[in-house]
């Protein structure tokens, strides 16, 4: 079985020597971390991403991104100095009537339940834009593109950190993220989710750096993680799902260094205070406000009251045991544009799922092989940092999938709630594919993956997205 071919070790001896002297990759800075050798493919990938995103910004019908009406008018409200507002009491302007189908709780703005960091920052840009609603919408959409670009960059850095010598993983992961259709959709609309994706990717990358560094999680790194966590929580409360991932990385690093519970716990105490307590303390005023207004810190219970959405809440058992639920989530993950109004055809979904299933089987093969090798006492397939890194990345995917299911217990749920782990999805996918190819031939997987995803994007645009919005018979679904 080709899965028996080991993945490449993460660092060469020269790199290790540098790390040993206390110079981690971090010391060269995020931008400087890209090697000269990678710029020839990173540059066109980033250009391709930008070209695609500009087209998507223009093509996707106005206010048809998920919750885009609500987010836009939340920004408008803050720009006008009207305050945060209370769910159920803030009405959308009458001009939004044509987009009623794209609003969760029309005519009120349910998104004012969200922490205001993203909206507050965009409100500053909003104020300096010309007073034209559509013009402002498209301008704000453009601000999502750099956030998507940053995520693609972080995907590269993360993959490079874990598997610098595996080109299928190092190149394939950012390619996957840049060309994943629904991530592209997120990075072309007005929605705080794209900031959450970028920040979550940054936290996971920083956590992996702490794991890799010979000096472990230094105070400055822990504080950086904590501050990013605080910014993330003030962007969306669900960013709290990053905390267990960070906690796991801290635990793995501390246990690996000390191998004794007492010193491990002591180390975890100060590291946790910086990386985990700082964001929790920082978000406390928002939690207190929610508790006072809605009766719970996150405000989630208030969302249950939204008609049609809360009615679709289900139980964990019902969701986990339902093939239709998982089919829906797979479909959400890959292709539901225009707030689910523009899905792929079932055949397309099945082809994608089949191709993705191959990667999942590859991951399974790696796990089985790792278990067997450990049992037989043979040398491991992955080195310790790679194994721990993959555990952390897999944990980031797992907690966000849990988040998707958790939301399903409150209201109608969607796969996009797992998108903050998009880098993890991309990394695990390419590692899964790498498992099936002999080391010598793995690089051929890069152009294959690239062309497959490019073809998917072209077909998506021509068969589904553009025809939904444009053409003599189209457009009516947006502006009745």
């Amino acid at each position: 079985m080709s899965a028996a071919v080991p993945l490449q070790p993460p660092v060469q001896s020269a790199d290790r020597a540098r790390v040993g002297r206390g110079r981690s990759i971090r010391s060269r800075g995020i931008v400087g971390a890209a090697t000269r050798a990678d710029l020839p493919w990173l540059t066109p990938l980033l250009l391709l991403f930008v070209a695609k995103q500009l087209l998507l910004v223009a093509v996707i019908g106005p206010f048809t991104g998920h919750d885009e009406v609500d987010h836009f008018y939340y920004i408008d409200r803050l720009a006008a100095g009207e305050g945060l507002g209370v769910v159920g009491e803030v009405d959308l302007p009458p001009s939004t009537k044509p987009y009623e189908e794209y609003v969760a709780d029309y005519p009120t703005n349910a998104e004012v339940i969200q922490p205001p960091l993203y909206h507050g920052v965009l409100a500053m840009a909003y104020r300096v834009l010309p007073e034209d609603t559509l013009g402002r919408l498209y301008a704000l959409r453009l601000l999502s593109v750099p956030l998507g670009l940053a995520t693609v960059w972080l995907a590269y850095l993360t993959a490079r950190l874990l598997f610098p010598r595996e080109s299928l993983v190092r190149v394939g992961t950012p390619v996957f993220v840049a060309l994943q259709p629904q991530f592209s959709f997120e990075a072309a609309i007005v929605n705080h989710d794209i900031l959450v994706v970028a920040l979550f990717s940054l936290v996971v990358y920083l956590a992996l750096q702490g794991l890799r560094s010979a000096r472990g999680f230094r105070p400055d790194l822990c504080l950086t993680i904590g501050l990013v966590g605080a910014v993330g929580l003030w962007t969306k409360v669900s960013f709290g799902l990053s905390l267990p991932v960070v906690g796991l990385a801290l635990l793995l690093a501390a246990w690996g260094r000390h191998r004794r519970w007492t010193t491990t716990l002591l180390t975890l105490a100060w590291q946790g205070a910086l990386a985990l307590a700082v964001p929790l303390v920082a978000i406390m005023p928002w939690f207190v406000r929610n508790q006072r207004l809605y009766g719970d810190p996150t405000g989630a219970e208030r969302l249950r009251l939204i008609p049609d959405y809360g009615d679709q809440a289900s139980t964990y058992a019902d969701m986990l045991g339902s093939p239709a639920f998982w089919r829906g989530r797979l479909e959400d993950f890959w292709g539901n544009y225009g707030w689910r109004q523009v899905p792929y055809d079932p055949t397309d979904y099945r082809v994608i799922e089949l191709a993705w299933g191959v990667a999942a089987l590859g991951l399974g093969a790696i796990l089985v092989r790792a278990g067997l090798r450990r049992w037989r006492g043979w040398s491991p397939t992955l080195d310790r940092f790679q194994a721990q890194g993959l555990v952390v990345v897999a944990a980031s995917v797992a907690v966000l999938i849990y988040g998707v299911v958790y939301v399903g217990t409150i209201q109608f749920t969607q796969s996009r709630f797992a998108f903050p782990a998009m880098v993890g999805f991309g990394l695990l996918t390419t590692v899964g594919y790498a498992a099936w190819l002999p080391a010598r031939w793995r690089p051929i997987g890069v152009p294959v993956l690239l062309l497959a995803l490019l073809a998917l994007n072209v077909v998506t645009a021509l068969r589904y997205v553009i025809p939904f919005y444009f053409g003599p018979g189209g457009g009516a679904v947006i502006n009745p």
Binding site: L54, V59, P62, R340, L451, V458, L462, R463, G471, G474
Partner: protein
Amino acid sequence: MTRPWGQWVPAAVGAGAAVLLLVLALVVPLEVRHSAPFGFRLTLDTERSIAVPGTTVVANYPNFNRVDLDLRAFTEGDRYDLTVYVRPDDPGRPNAAPIRRIPLGVKGDDVDYRKPAFADPFTTVRFPPVADSAGRRYYVWVERGPATQDDIVTLWSIKSYSRVDGRTVLAALIDNPPGMLSRVGAWVLLGGALVGFAAATAWLVGVTTALTIAAARRVPARVGAAARAPRGPGGAKTAG
């Protein structure tokens, strides 16, 4: 031999991939789905609150050539003989004659009302393209054949498609530019995006092909040894 493999082949593969992708995107006809919320039109007659065996579809483009029918049988027949009709839905001509009549035989198992979660609920029906369909409305309905008259077969929803090339799709975007864009602006945006897309694709595919060739020709000895001896103690060594 190093130069051609090292430079010209990746460049040729990159340029070829970009050209091929553009040709496929712009010239080769695709079956493009017409605009409808969630992709389909329900057959529910909302005025009478009853399900009816047909509904109106609006063709986005010329060459309307396909409908996908979500058929559901509530009786246990082996096979159902149906006929699909397509007629113009013109308020001025309420009794317009069908322009397409397509006999359809479906297996009972394929249209059972209890469809598995991952099954495609739709039955595809293709017919000779309606050339001048762009922007027109059509009423599509299903009738049961003589042998199926007593069976309960319903139609839940319809998807419709046109067989057109990418240029037709993009032309529709330029004719009705998004947002505040003028037609010229749409041309510039679309042209720029296509040129950028093609150039970046050629560059990216070229570089990744070069990576592949380099890896295939010059694999570090230790990695090669690891690849050849993956099993057993002392086989595959990894750092760390």
